[in-house]
Amino acid sequence: MNISALTILTQAGVAPDSALSSVVSMRDNIIGMTQAAEEAVLRPKETGAFPHGLRAAIATRVARLAGDEPLAAYYLADAGHYAELSVPGEPGSQHQELAAILSFVDKVANQTRDAAAEDISGLRMAGVADADIVRLCELVAFLAFQIRVISGLRLMNGKSA
């Protein structure tokens, strides 16, 4: 396994040939599929309403909401002209049409339990297609997973150090 191409291992600082590396290697398949999932939500062939740069900006924003600045920096590199959206808060006038999308992202990311039917009907009324609502949820939901695997691995890495 090439560790340098695997986001969860590089972000958690899992060194090749370390004790932790041999522990996680039992789940090589899962680590590989996690990388494939990152590709599927950050850099899909079918982007729907969310081009790759916007997805990267949303990922940066979600990483920041989770307090993970190193992961935020990793995603920010691909955000291009959407970079301003990576800062939690209202979007500037240039991207005002994305305000509803971003407030939905923030809620699903960090107030998950409060998500309600009105949040979905609100997006539909704002003209977001059902397929795009699913795409947006998959992106935020995957990031919740990735952030927590990295955070757990960092704790394990600290323990074995």
Partner: protein
């Protein structure tokens, strides 16, 4: 008549989508492949048909989900279910909590752990090992995640191997993902009574 369920239960509800799932007869070849629809298997849940709107994610998500919850070695399936349940309780995903509490009870051949968790939440009276597992998974599921070095130490102290700890990280994190689909895209509703 159906009603939306708001309380934790081990009785598995129906899941009612808040948007329109992909219609099987209109699915593309790529969607059918991800849905694993074959002439002998044409039953697909509304949940999976909803996720089929994003077929690239669905194609990688299903095998990843199965590997984290069912692959051999490492943490027992029963304890992975406890990790899944803890996350689902934090995110109040009633549907996920029901499914994984039910699986835990069946694998453990014991309903008392999940009864106690649903009755008393994070103050539940648990064995030291279940307590360490549940506390780590619960804190890891919070947003931002709040598990710290002391929570990992507790897992080691009650006897978890590093392989088991990694499996717990994976299973609780996986429900950070699953809850944000199931709880956000649909409602858990009581099953229609048979006529």
């Amino acid at each position: 008549m159906t009603r939306v369920i708001h309380k934790f239960t081990r009785k598995i509800p129906e899941w009612r989508p808040r948007l329109v799932p992909v219609k099987l007869e209109e699915a593309t070849a790529e969607q059918l492949d991800a849905l694993k629809v074959t002439p002998s298997n044409t039953k697909v849940s509304d949940y999976v048909l909803t996720l089929a709107h994003d077929v690239e994610s669905l194609s990688v998500r299903s095998p990843l989900f199965n590997a984290i919850m069912y692959d051999r070695g490492g943490m027992s399936r029963e304890e992975r279910e406890l990790g899944a349940l803890a996350a689902s309780m934090v995110n109040r995903c009633i549907y996920c909590a029901a499914v994984h509490a039910d699986r835990h009870a069946k694998l453990a051949k014991d309903e008392s752990v999940t009864d106690e968790l649903f009755a008393n939440g994070e103050n539940a009276d648990l064995s030291p090992r279940n307590r360490a597992i549940f506390d780590f998974a619960r804190k890891a599921a919070e947003a931002p995640p709040s598990a710290g070095p002391e929570d990992i130490d507790k897992l080691s102290k009650v006897g978890l191997s590093d392989e088991e700890i990694f499996d717990l990280i994976l299973s609780s994190a996986l429900f950070g993902w699953a809850n944000r689909l199931m709880h956000v895209l649909g409602d858990p509703v009581s099953r229609r009574e048979a006529i």
